[in-house]
Structures are given as structure tokens and as C-alpha cells.
């Protein structure tokens, strides 16, 4: 595979996404809500409305949550009052799987633009007449969706850490974030989820060659992420380091299978004779 061709496809696909507000606006707005607006609301609202911890969150409710937590996680909550405990619980633990929405959303948006959008705008045929091999076309297009998905997630994480530690410094008096459980999520689970988003979109766009159609169908994958969020909230599954690694393994297996199928189905002949 020739790197120059792959880089040219990545650059071209990203240049094409930039003028499409429908594609990049959600990539900015959704992370902004999750990493800036919501954490600030959770951290600063109790101080602004001036309620006592007991009024905000009765002690028995906090105890109920803590009773379900593994000991490794309760250790980080020692010495905090009810509100502070809930803030750390929500922002430090429950928000973690929500971050998986970013790689999923961004990879499916760009992949829909790149794979389905190109067919929708009828530019695919000129691309197929270039000397690039099917593998180079697939790799270039997949990387154009995969790389920004990872980068935006990591940048969002850095901003999130800055917001939590800055806004929370007056409360906790120390830099308390990130917690160890975030690292497998960012560096192990996030790439798997991004790849899964790309591969699933390629499979969908073979049958649904419109940007919106492909993006909306691929969006159904978000159920997997919401399952993790619900699992944590219900006390069934906590994303500790070990669980994070296992969840990542599951996503890698799913992503690997989907990628294999999408590569198998991505060739000039099928692109021209289906959809």
C-alpha cells in the first residue's frame, strides 16, 4: 500500500467534511456539552443555589450508591460529603462511558460523509478510475474517519480534566482527575469503538448510499454505549480498570469482525453494482 495515496485520500476526505456544517457541528457541540457545560453545572450549581449537602442529596441515597461500589472505587471517596461524593461519582465514574459516544459519533459522521456521501454526490466513480487499489481506498477513507474520532475524544478528555480540576479545586483543594479507570477507556476502548463505528458505517453505506441515511442507521450503535452508562447507573457494571480492559476486548472483537466483513465487501465491482 502506498502511503502517499492513503494520505491524499485522508486529506481530501477531511477537506470535504470541513464545509459541511451538518457533519462537523455535532462534533463540536456534543463534546462541548459533555466536557464543559455539564461538569460545570454539576460542580458549580450546588454552590450557586447555596443548598446544604443534606438538601441536595440525602445521606441514605448516597449510602445506597456506595453500597454497590467495589472497594477500589469507594477509596477515592473517603472524607467527602454527600454532594462531593455524588459529584465525584457522576463526573469521575458515570461520565466515563459517555465519552465513548464521541469516537462513535465522529467516526460514523465522517465515515458516512466519506463512504455514503461520495456515492450520494456521484463522485465515487471518478475515484474508482484512479490507480489506487481497493485496499488503499478503504484504508484512506477509514483513517479519515478513525483519526479525528480518536483525536477529538482525547482533546475532549484533556479539556474535561482541566475543567474538573479548575472548577473543582476550590472544593477538593487538589488535582483529583483523571482517575485510573479512565486510561483503559481512552487508550484501549476508544480506538475499538472508533473502528467499530467506521466498519459498521461502511457496511451500512453499501446498502444506504446517502449521508443522512447511513449516519442515522450507524447511530443505532450508540445503544451499546448507553448500555454501559445504564449498567453503571444501575450498579450492574462498574468500569474499573479490569472491567474497562474486558469491555475493550469485547469492542475490539466486534470491531475486528465488522472490519473484516466491510473490507471483504469493499471493492470496485460491488460499489458499482449494488445500492
Amino acid at each position: 500500500m502506498k502511503m502517499r495515496i492513503i494520505i491524499a485520500i485522508v486529506k481530501k476526505d477531511l477537506l470535504e467534511v470541513l464545509p459541511n456544517k451538518g457533519a462537523w457541528l455535532p462534533m463540536i457541540i456534543v463534546p462541548l456539552i459533555f466536557v464543559v457545560i455539564m461538569p460545570l453545572a454539576f460542580l458549580l450549581l450546588p454552590q450557586v443555589v447555596n443548598l446544604s449537602p443534606e438538601e441536595m442529596m440525602p445521606a441514605y441515597q448516597v449510602k445506597g450508591f456506595l453500597a454497590n461500589l467495589p472497594p477500589s472505587m469507594t477509596a477515592a471517596l473517603d472524607g467527602l460529603d454527600q454532594v462531593e461524593t455524588m459529584q465525584v461519582m457522576i463526573l469521575g465514574y458515570f461520565f466515563a462511558p459517555m465519552f465513548l459516544i464521541f469516537p462513535l459519533m465522529i467516526s460514523t459522521i465522517i465515515a458516512s460523509e466519506s463512504f455514503a456521501g461520495e456515492r450520494e454526490r456521484k463522485t465515487i466513480e471518478a475515484l474508482l478510475y484512479t490507480p489506487a487499489s481497493d485496499a488503499e481506498l478503504f484504508t484512506g477513507k477509514a483513517l479519515a474517519a478513525f483519526i479525528p474520532a480518536i483525536l477529538v475524544t482525547w482533546i475532549s478528555f484533556i479539556i474535561y480534566a482541566i475543567v474538573l480540576n479548575t472548577a473543582g479545586f476550590s472544593i477538593y483543594g487538589q488535582v483529583w482527575f483523571p482517575l485510573a479507570s479512565w486510561f483503559p477507556l481512552l487508550f484501549w476502548v476508544t480506538p475499538a469503538v472508533a473502528l467499530m463505528g467506521v466498519a459498521f458505517t461502511v457496511l451500512i453505506s453499501a446498502r444506504n448510499p446517502t449521508f443522512m441515511g447511513s449516519y442515522q442507521t450507524s447511530g443505532s450503535l450508540v445503544i451499546l454505549v448507553l448500555g454501559l452508562v445504564a449498567g453503571q447507573a444501575a450498579g450492574v457494571l462498574y468500569l474499573s480498570v479490569g472491567v474497562g480492559m474486558l469491555v475493550g476486548l469485547f469492542f475490539w472483537l466486534v470491531a475486528g469482525g465488522m472490519t473484516w466483513f466491510s473490507i471483504k465487501n469493499f471493492n470496485r465491482s460491488k460499489l458499482l453494482t449494488t445500492g
Binding site: K12, A126, T130, P131, L272
Partner: protein
């Protein structure tokens, strides 16, 4: 594998391809020589675009084989496509990018070295009169400008053979003429080998050295226009202009003359006759003079590609009924 050069630029032998159960190309055989402009003519669905896809290795043939510039498209598509230029039916340009960005991308895909690519981009933009608007998004271009840019993209890497699929489709007459003149000048100045797919017979008649006429994936006829004319249309067409009015009775009498196949008045004073041979002309002139008519003009007319084309298409449709 560039020791592939041979006499024919394109050779198709019994080439076939089916979309499901529908045979899009069926037993197609033809050759194209270096420097020739060959027209692939046929109605929509005749199999022209599928033929171009097969000849560039985008689709694998379900029957037969082909060689283009010495390469087998089915197995050497990547190497082959470095040396072919294709103008697709729609311009297929990235409209959110500028003309320069489009050409830069396709040049990189063709692996043109960076300094050469820069020079070629400017040459192409100049040749197609797009230099001043090269940094504007293609979405702001008119249809004619887009088609010129798409033609420029096909020529960017100096291909050994050009495939032009309906190059004037959807263009207004002025833009259409501009594109035709560009193709004509490419052929005259650079001696490009071109396979031109079209259903525009005027375009084919003007640009092509030879034509291949297709219907339902099959080749109906192939050859130079003159040869096809001789082969398919017997006799000669004659336009006769006379001064006086011609009575219906005299008209019927003339139509019955030996050697006259058919006769129709086209407009006042103008008759169109299909005759068997030039030898019939003196008899017709004599008849007109003897009947006291003043002859202003007797002109044999070359039958157009359109007549040949429709004769063949009617025969093909008749055969399938």
C-alpha cells in the same frame, strides 16, 4: 510490466458482463489503433458505460477478455489506470473543493511527482481557461466549466488513452460546442487515442474516425462512416430543386421510374429521391426537362450517421421483437 506496447491501444475479444440476469455487454469485440478517435454509439442502456468500466478494470468481465495499452484490465487494473484518463458521464468533481485542490488530489492519486504535478495543474487550468478561478470552489462553476475541469482532470497525467463518456451530456449548446472543440483540438494537436461514448450523433460524426454502434450490449456495426454508408445504405440520395410547381400526377410517374426507390417532396420546389445508382440521374433529368420543368439544382446528398444509426437500431429492435 511496461513492455506492453503493441499495435492496438484497445483490444476487446468477446467481452461480456451481466448485472444479475441482465446482459449489459454481450460478446463485444473491437480494436482501437493509436491516434484513432473511435465513437461508441448507442442508446441509454446499450452498454457503453459498462464497456468503459470493463476496459479500466472497474468490473471483472464475465466472459471474454480485453487488453488496453497492453495491460489486462481484469488483473492489471492499477497499472493500467495510471495510463488511462476517463471523463465520466457526470463530472464527478469534489464540489466543496477548489479546482486546484481537485487536480492536486487526482494528481497525487496518479502518483505524479510533486514538482511535475504543480506544473501540470497550471498547464491544465490554462488549457481549459480556468486559471483565474482555480482557487474557487467547484460548486460555484457553471456546468460547462465543470465539464472542462473534468476533462482536464482526465488529461492531467498525460494518459495514453482517453475514455470520454457522454462528454456533452447535459450541457447547453454553447458549452457543448466548447467541449467538442476542445476534444477536437486535443485530437488534432496531440494525437490522443480516444474512445468516445455518446448518443449524440452530431458529436460522433464530427469527432470520430470510426464508430462502433451498440444496442443491448451487442455490437451492431463497426467501421468508418463512409464504409458503413456503403455497407448499410444502398443507393444514393438526390435533392432536386425545380422552379415550377410539380403536379401529384407527375410526381407519381417520376416515382415509378426505373432506378428510383422512393421520392418525397420536402418543400416547395424541392424533391428528395432515393435512387439505385448515379446512372439513374440522366434519366430523371431527361424526364423533368421533357415535362417542361426548369431544373435549378441536382445534388447527390451524403446520408448522415443519424440515418445509418437509426437503420441499425430499427433492425436490432425488429430482431428482438
Amino acid at each position: 510490466m511496461n513492455g506492453h506496447m503493441q499495435a492496438e491501444v484497445i483490444t476487446a475479444r468477446e467481452l461480456g458482463f451481466s448485472y444479475g440476469s441482465r446482459k449489459a455487454v454481450n460478446g463485444l469485440s473491437f480494436t482501437v489503433q493509436p491516434g484513432e478517435v473511435v465513437g461508441l454509439l448507442g442508446p441509454n442502456g446499450a452498454g457503453k458505460t459498462t464497456t468503459v468500466r470493463l476496459l479500466n478494470g472497474l468490473l471483472p468481465p464475465s466472459a471474454g477478455s480485453a487488453r488496453v495499452l497492453g495491460y489486462d484490465p481484469a488483473t492489471e487494473g492499477e497499472n493500467l489506470r495510471k495510463q488511462t484518463g476517463v471523463l465520466t458521464e457526470t463530472p464527478a468533481l469534489y464540489e466543496r473543493l477548489t479546482a486546484r485542490q481537485n487536480l492536486q488530489f487526482f494528481g497525487e492519486m496518479a502518483e505524479l511527482p510533486q514538482p511535475e504535478l504543480k506544473t501540470r495543474i497550471e498547464e491544465v487550468l490554462t488549457l481549459f481557461d480556468l486559471q483565474e478561478r482555480g482557487d474557487e470552489r467547484v460548486s460555484t462553476y457553471s456546468k460547462g466549466m465543470k465539464q472542462r475541469l473534468a476533462l482536464g482532470r482526465a488529461l492531467l497525467h498525460n494518459p495514453g488513452v482517453l475514455f470520454l463518456d457522454e462528454p456533452t451530456s447535459g450541457l447547453d449548446p454553447e458549452a457543448s460546442l466548447q467541449v467538442m472543440e476542445l476534444i477536437d483540438s486535443l485530437r488534432r494537436q496531440n494525437g490522443h487515442t480516444v474512445l468516445l461514448c455518446t448518443h449524440n450523433l452530431f458529436e460522433a460524426q464530427r469527432l470520430c474516425d470510426r464508430v462502433l454502434i451498440m444496442n443491448s450490449g451487442r455490437l451492431l456495426a463497426a467501421g468508418r462512416l463512409d464504409d458503413l454508408r456503403k455497407q448499410l445504405l444502398q443507393g444514393l440520395r438526390l435533392n432536386i430543386r425545380i422552379l415550377e410547381a410539380f403536379s401529384a400526377e407527375k410526381l407519381a410517374e417520376l416515382g415509378k421510374m426505373s432506378g428510383v426507390n422512393s421520392l418525397k417532396p420536402v418543400q416547395d420546389g424541392l424533391l428528395q429521391l432515393d435512387i439505385e445508382a448515379e446512372a439513374t440521374i440522366p434519366g430523371i433529368v431527361k424526364y423533368l426537362v421533357e415535362n417542361g420543368l426548369s431544373i435549378l439544382e441536382v445534388q447527390p446528398v451524403q446520408q448522415s450517421l443519424e440515418e445509418i444509426y437509426f437503420t441499425l437500431q430499427r433492425e436490432a429492435e425488429g430482431a428482438t421483437l
